[in-house]
Symmetry: C2
Subunit: 326 residues, 2 copies
């Protein structure tokens, strides 16, 4: 069966790392049909729209989407794209790789971030000159869906359960609902959990990241705490992510457009290629996914390396080396 | 002029570190009148109320309050106490000390956290079985008051300006109002600012804390990011804080009740004693404040040390050593 893969490079280094990941996927000779589409600052400049309707529709119908990065329009692109695939969870592994300088080399975490609501609901008002409000929405149904995914996620692998991160001592009703719902689903499934306040998590993960493994959290907490974990593993450069929906999914590196190096051909393609490995696993190509992960890890360890990792190789050199090692 | 100082030890090690800080203040022979009051889990057990009205009233009338810690009732104690002193800013220095193991020893930050609104407004609802909401409030007036404080804060010392941390790419109206208001006040005062997204801040502060100095942020961002900085300097054990209002203020260590060591007499009093040094500065005793800071730093460097810092001294030993060095 042919799988249709939407490819949305976007802006900046997205134009360099996305083709690199596609080259890796092509090298595996799977029956993929790649369809490219535009999004981001550049297309907005041309057409007035950061996310053209065709691009949205493509992501909403393709089996999977690979997205690069967007510039100033990032939120106008990525939030609707997440909605296009109806993605209820953002899976964000944050793992230190051998050979890469890390603040905390023992970090190996996976964030399962709620991906539809919280402060991302987009309900804001300017009530008076002085007062603005935002309605933060937390639903039992979204919390349940996330928790079911989390239970499935930790059962498939060598995990002992997961941590529920929240701020229910202040957001008693909303994060209370989140925490209790997630805990209830975990209990029903016989999955062990512990509960950690989001501020305490921030301290504890710096002091000893090994005490955590899989972390289930609301939308903004997942945004900030996974970026914190990115800092612990040495930067956003190596972090992949998967936005999973019931029927399709969208994969993207966590990094942005890196305007300082865009166009120079030296962007590190690793995060996007690891995102492509997550795409492979999502579509059932587990063996191929493992091969890509292994080839990326070997290349991070033995080179060639792009300048961000202290080397002087180009994006193309690194991509070729990964393909050679497949 | 006598200053009335409310002393609220609270629960757990609050009962040990608060008297230690009072002993240091007493050793300075300033004309302080200390008045003690209860709050926390223990008084709730007895009376049904975590924050008795007398305690609230005392904090609302004293010149300054020194608070220790509260257990499960922490939010029920500290949030009303912050309101009692009408504190619009929470000042949270996060600095690594020589002689103390830190993930990032070069960390030297001060968070100026908005202290009255954001998700702390307490406006929550369970709309249906499925849906709960929280109203996040951001006002121009609170943002202005914070920004004026921040401008004053950076002018008094060797600071180059401050960073405004926000998430206005998602919370466009509310954090947009926050960011623009703070920036406007800074511009009027000729204070330099830069703007950093809260998630990007979390990554960047781990990678290179020295790129930041004074950080101005909304309430929850300040809560989480200052706890992150606590992780970078080696834990909550050494972090003081000041909740500043127009006419009075409340000082507290950032750490909690430490139930694992409470009652053993080995709690590290440093964070509370540094909080007392902030109290001295607030009341105009700059020279005495400097002496306390210096005595604490010398003791952290040369000992004696409590077990959390690898020593075997008691709270009393450390307190005596600090007093000897005043
Ligand atoms: C660009 C922004 C809207 C987005 C988010 O906040 O989710 C980004 O930070 C991310 O984490 O993918
Ligand atoms: C106890 C809690 C309500 C409080 C907060 O969230 O402000 C604490 O985490 C703090 O930072 O002082």
């Amino acid at each position: 069966m042919t799988h249709e893969i939407a490819v949305i490079p976007g802006d900046g280094i997205g134009q360099e790392v996305t083709p690199a990941a596609v080259a890796v996927l092509e090298a595996l000779e799977i029956d993929f049909e790649f369809v490219e589409a535009d999004a981001g600052d550049a297309v907005k400049e041309e057409t007035g729209e950061a996310l053209p309707q065709e691009t949205y529709d493509l992501a909403a119908s393709a089996d999977a989407t690979l997205f690069g990065a967007a510039g100033d329009t990032a939120a106008d692109v990525i939030l609707p794209l997440r909605e296009a695939v109806d993605s209820f969870v953002n899976v964000r592994p944050a793992k230190a790789y051998p050979g890469v300088d890390a603040v905390r080399p023992e970090t190996d975490l996976v964030f399962l971030r709620e991906n539809t609501e919280g402060v991302y609901s987009g309900l804001e008002d300017r009530l008076t000159q002085d007062v603005s409000t935002l309605t933060r929405v937390v639903t039992e149904s979204a919390s349940e869906r996330l928790a079911e995914f989390a239970c499935e996620y930790v059962s498939g692998d060598d995990h002992d359960g997961f941590s529920i991160v929240h701020k229910a001592n202040v957001m008693r009703e909303t994060d209370g609902l989140f925490r209790d719902t997630v805990k209830g689903v975990a209990d029903e499934n016989g999955v062990e959990t512990d509960q950690v306040l989001m501020d305490a998590f921030a301290t504890r993960v710096c002091l000893d990241p090994e005490q955590f493994d899989v972390v289930v959290c609301p939308n903004l907490a997942g945004d900030v705490l996974s970026d914190l974990a990115a800092g612990l593993v040495g930067g956003l450069g190596l972090l992949p992510s998967a936005n999973i929906g019931p029927d399709r999914a969208l994969f993207e590196p966590v990094h942005g457009t890196a305007p300082d190096i865009a166009g120079e051909g030296v962007a590190n393609p690793a995060a996007t290629i690891i995102s492509a490995a997550m795409l492979l696993e999502y579509l059932g190509y587990d063996e191929e996914s493992d091969r890509v992960h292994a080839a990326v890890e070997a290349t991070l360890e033995d080179g060639p390396r792009t300048p961000d990792l202290g080397g002087d190789a180009s994006t193309g050199d690194v991509t070729d080396a990964i393909i050679d090692r497949l």
